[in-house]
Subunit: 416 residues, 2 copies
């Protein structure tokens, strides 16, 4: 292994032992001091960021990406505020779950403990640097960050700031480490450091996540893309259905919990589709529909097979007429990405069937899929939304960054 | 992808939808009928097994492996009894955990659901075939089995028997499928079928598990090797310490929760080691000790650095003298495999420190590590013992074969 990565891994394991056993008070104090330090060093951070932005522009980075890269005074305040919010959350580490006494007198319980060393691979978004540190550190984990090369100066400045606070507080500065060599080879090696890293979390677009899932030998928590559906049942309150679809599609289009596809029961298509289409078209949403729907929607484009599987992240919606709740469920289970799905209905049996049979991280009756979010679910934080089934599914808060170990109190028991 | 695997994957996904929604009663009836069918077809099964055993002997399979491969009438009764036990367990699927009302009126809860399609890769142990089916089916999962080529006839006969029952009961027979092409290439492809398989569980020795972890792109639950330690503190009840070590080392040597290494506090070494050594040597346990311990144990072999990391699975024990509980903890955290670790002590602070700071799936005070087992922990079943930190850690019962999805009841909520 690359000497640099080897050293980094050893440092992380050494730090792990120290960070794992910090009290909530000690961890919160660090988070509050880091919030202060980021604000105090705002000029240094924006200066470092200016280099990244300048390089980005030089390399013709699209303006949307430049905007995500940019650090301003306000955004640095936002990062600091995020750290304070995490400090205010309850520390889940140390709780003992379900301790029971076995017939032989052994007391067996599950204690919530940190995962250990968490690797985070992300793109050119410097705010993720502080955010990922806050969530990992709050849960007693050590973090190794591998950010996008386009944000390298910004990330170095933020990490330096955090490490200085850690040192001042007498806590190992290796609680956070940044991989500054952003070459493909180093990233590939990083994803195979099972010896030093317990979990890898990719945060970013589809391509990044796919690359990590395919190449990592370290267990991955896959945060995911969302081809989210809303199904309008024959018994739906059509006003409610239109309001929910408008919200789920247009309130924010570039997010994973936005609605990408609408299914409508054939019995309500004549009444519903023209109304819905008018409202969507007012917001300049392009509609890609099947034949039955096209007939009712002037200006709709004929959908292709490929459209049913697309996550547009744009002002585009696919739309299909179905003849039953069963057909809706089966279409969704075929094309969805396991993220968020909704039914709009007043039929009890259809609601229960949809909740039971749709295979996704979050399944809604009569609400917008946009609620799939750690803050909206009441976790007070979010490290991402898992679309995999192992370990965590759906919005992940602090709990997703912990594991458990069994603790067993005995008085001399041996196995017969 | 290999055409056979592709078909198999599609069949599994089609079956998934049906199996996921079976009631506990329907599933239990299948398990009881399979138990009956295995007993009724005992002659067919032993005849198929005889071919495997004959081939094994022809290929000079070691007798210990032949014994694991062998099916007898009694062993078939044992398999059937295992199925009946699983039928008697409570079905965890469908439980809704922690439903809460959010300020906006949304009701959000977590529903326990099957994982989906589970792949199991194992060695030439035909009993795993029925056992893995029982646990997966009970939790509403579809299973694809890839057993060792040495047991192919046995596995085919068992799977045929199960599929016949499934068909008779009007349930898709693809709830269980066996990969009969046991070539390396097919196995390698199977481990990359993310599209069709949700989780892969290797069951077998270190080499098999390592190969799956390194080559699978499907999320893996790593079941593991155990380099388990017992630390005898200066305040230990030495009689209890010796009894526990004898149990953990010699009650069954070839298992992952057996004790492989003993650490003894220097203050009790003179009194304890000669007594312990005598008892171990009576049971013909070879002792590989550090210098301090060797001085007190006639016949002990000098341990090498390599010994501290070994899982012997044999009548061999490594032994080291330490000067504090901290040194014991640090030695264990350096060399253990994250399985099971025990301290024998009467000191409150040392017990708490050991429980807090030792990083393993199960940490004991004053008990034998041999209790790390799904049955001993009261789960009524065991699919393996996880030594990874994601999803499940320690003995895995039925719960480890489930995941959750969020179900959300609304009445028209949209996101502001």
């Amino acid at each position: 292994m690359n000497e640099m990565l080897n050293t980094l891994g050893k440092n992380a394991r050494n730090a792990e032992v120290l960070v794992r056993n910090l009290s909530a008070n000690e961890k919160n104090e660090v988070l509050l001091k880091v919030a202060e330090a980021l604000t105090e060093n705002a000029d240094t951070l924006t200066a470092a960021n200016a280099l990244d932005v300048e390089n980005g522009r030089k390399n013709n980075m699209p303006e949307a990406l430049v905007d995500r890269l940019l650090l301003t005074g306000d955004r640095i305040q936002g990062m600091a505020e995020g750290l304070r919010q995490v400090a205010a959350l309850e520390d889940p580490v140390g709780e003992v779950l379900g301790m029971k006494k076995r017939p032989n007198g052994l007391m067996i319980g599950q204690k919530r403990v940190p995962l250990g060393v968490i690797g985070i691979i992300y793109e050119a978004r410097p705010n993720v640097t502080a955010d990922a540190f806050a969530l990992c550190f709050k849960t007693g984990n050590v973090v190794i960050l591998k950010g996008g090369s386009d944000a390298i100066h910004s990330n170095e400045a933020i990490v330096k700031c955090i490490r200085e606070v850690l040192q001042e507080q007498g806590i190992t500065e290796d609680a956070i480490q940044l991989i500054t060599d952003t070459s493909r080879e180093t990233t590939a090696e990083f994803m195979k450091m099972n010896q030093y890293v317990d979990v890898l979390i990719p945060r970013g677009g589809r391509g990044l996540i796919k690359a990590v899932v395919e190449n990592s030998t370290i267990p991955v928590i896959e945060t995911g893309t969302g081809n989210c559906h809303t199904y309008v049942d024959e018994t739906a309150d059509l006003q409610m259905a239109a309001d929910i679809i408008m919200n789920a599609k247009t309130q924010r289009v570039g997010v994973c919990n936005a609605c990408e596809s609408v299914l409508v029961h054939e019995k309500v298509k004549d009444e519903f589709l023209p109304v819905l289409a008018r409202r969507l078209q007012e917001k300049r949403v392009e509609i890609r529909a099947d034949e039955a729907a096209c007939e009712l929607i002037p200006g709709a484009v004929q959908a292709t097979e490929e459209d049913w599987g697309r996550e547009y992240l744009d002002y585009i919606l696919s739309l299909k007429v179905v003849s039953s709740v069963e057909e809706a469920i089966s279409h969704i289970n075929q094309y969805n990405t396991g993220h968020s799905e909704a039914i709009i209905t007043n039929n009890y049996e259809h609601a229960q069937k949809f909740l039971d049979q749709v295979d996704a991280a979050a399944v809604y009756v009569n609400a917008s899929t946009r609620f799939t979010d750690g803050f909206e679910f009441g976790f007070g934080a979010e490290i991402g939304i898992s679309t995999q089934k192992l370990h965590a599914r759906g919005p992940m808060g602090l709990l997703a960054l912990t594991t458990t170990k069994y603790i067993i109190y005995g008085n001399g028991q041996i196995r017969p």
